[in-house]
């Protein structure tokens, strides 16, 4: 019984590893595309290249955190342990992507804005999401009982979803410095086609990387559970 569970977990981990490997190769591809294929931005120069990592990472983090919220609501309703495992894996991947956003942002901000950090609406929101989900992961670690862990972290996930619009509104009352969206806006995207193509590819790659991370983490959780199950006999 336990061996079967462990084998299944191993299969999921391997699948996650393959997807992550393919996505990492894709990340290398984005570097090549961004440096060799896309034109240099007129005003920002080479600093703009970091955009092809920064924006896709932000997209993946947003996707990850939204899915945690969704999985949390469904978990309280259906109490399916798969949803809890998925939420935990997604939160961890989200924190990793959020870390990438919060490090690449200042690297770009220093030459372009002249400052590493500013209390702009989007920066503040990202930072708070990062702290919120760090708290989420810390709480999970402190709760040994799986059912309690699932329910409590789902409640934190749901309350966190409600917090987002409030942070957004409160920081928007200060003036904003972050570039306005150039891709998703009412008029057509204002990018040269090469830049747009590179960006779309990088979004696809970051989504794939997210799927890889979550699958991998999900498999590891399955393996841990199988071992605990085995230890208890």
């Amino acid at each position: 019984m336990s061996n079967g569970e462990l084998e299944r977990a191993g299969r999921v981990v391997r699948r996650g590893g393959w997807i992550t490997g393919a996505a990492l190769a894709g990340v290398a591809g984005i570097y090549v595309m961004a440096l060799a294929y896309t034109p240099v931005e007129v005003r920002q120069g080479p600093a703009q290249k970091i955009f092809y990592i920064h924006a896709p990472a932000a997209w993946a983090a947003l996707l990850a955190f939204s899915l945690v919220g969704l999985a949390s609501i469904l978990y309280l309703w259906l109490e399916d342990p798969r949803l809890d495992r998925f939420a935990a894996a997604s939160a961890e991947a989200g924190v990793a992507f959020c870390g990438v956003v919060l490090t690449t942002g200042p690297i770009w901000g220093k030459p372009i804005w002249g400052t590493w950090w500013t209390w702009d609406a989007r920066l503040t929101l990202t930072l708070f999401l990062f702290f919120l989900f760090l708290g989420y992961l810390v709480l999970r670690q402190a709760l040994p009982d799986p059912s309690e862990r699932g329910r409590f972290s789902a409640v934190v996930g749901i309350l966190g979803m409600l917090l987002v619009p409030f942070i957004h509104v409160s920081v928007y009352l200060f003036r904003t410095l972050h570039p306005q969206p150039i891709l998703i806006k009412p008029s057509s995207p204002s990018l040269p086609p090469e830049m747009l193509r590179t960006l779309l590819v990088s979004f696809a790659v970051s989504t794939l990387l997210y799927v890889g991370f979550v699958t991998w983490r999900y498999g590891l959780t399955l393996a841990l559970e199988a071992r605990e199950h085995h230890a208890r006999g």
Binding site: L76, F131, A142, A154, V155, I158, L159, L162, L163, F166
Partner: protein, 226 residues
């Protein structure tokens, strides 16, 4: 509805009676808040920063920390002698239980804030004059907002090993929007600005209170029920 509210009040009254017998958290919360205010006065250079610039943030940082210290007691008292099991066996809807706990927390934190306010005026040499009603309204709205999430989290962290450490990590992100709004509103009130300038912040606090009290009341059952 009347019965629901009565049960919530019974829970709140129980907590208040318990606290009045020991006075532990009220006393420690107040002393803690006074000490934080004291540190603020020594941590600033009076020649470069005027009191009016620092006062709103000092007040709200103090209130936030004092609230976290006071919140810690909320469910730790229920842990002794497995009192929580008794409370859960009582025929009280979970929403009413949450609201009762929340009201008791609100009472404790308000008392701590009320005792700290004169100290704040004294230390920062302020003239509140006709500004007191405005400050009380802002403090009430902001405190009502962050205590909702705080009550749910204090029920969660008693099940963990490091409850006193875990609570601030969880609750502080939820304190930021109301504290931000309250500090902005307080700064404008102390600066003698017209009421119309803080109406936006008051509305923001009102929305925050309604949203979080409702959602916390709804999710509380998942935290206490097995």
């Amino acid at each position: 509805m009347g019965e629901w509210l009565r049960r919530a009040l019974v829970v709140a009254a129980k907590d208040i009676r318990l606290e009045l017998r020991s006075k532990t958290s009220l006393l420690s919360g107040t002393v803690f808040a006074a000490l934080v205010l004291l540190i603020f006065n020594f941590a600033r250079d009076p020649t470069s920063l005027s009191t009016l610039d620092l006062a709103p943030s000092a007040l709200w940082v103090t209130y936030a920390f004092a609230a976290v210290v006071t919140l810690n007691r909320g469910f730790s008292v229920e842990r002794e002698n497995a009192a929580l099991d008794g409370l859960l066996l009582a025929p009280i809807p979970r929403g009413a239980l949450f609201f009762g706990k929340y009201l008791a927390n609100f009472a404790f934190v308000s008392v701590v804030e009320a005792i700290t306010l004169p100290l704040f005026v004294l230390f920062f040499d302020l003239d509140l004059g006709g500004k007191l009603p405005g400050i009380i309204a802002v403090a009430g709205l902001a405190t009502a907002g962050f205590l909702a999430a705080g009550t749910v989290f204090s029920a969660m962290v008693v099940r963990t090993r490091f409850a006193e450490l875990m609570l601030p990590v969880l609750v502080l992100p939820f304190m930021v929007p109301p504290i931000m709004a309250a500090a902005e509103a307080t700064a404008r009130l102390l600066g003698g600005r017209p009421l119309s300038e803080i109406l936006g912040w008051l509305r923001f606090l009102g929305f925050y209170d309604i949203a979080f009290i409702t959602l916390c009341g709804m999710t509380f059952a998942f935290v206490v029920d097995e």
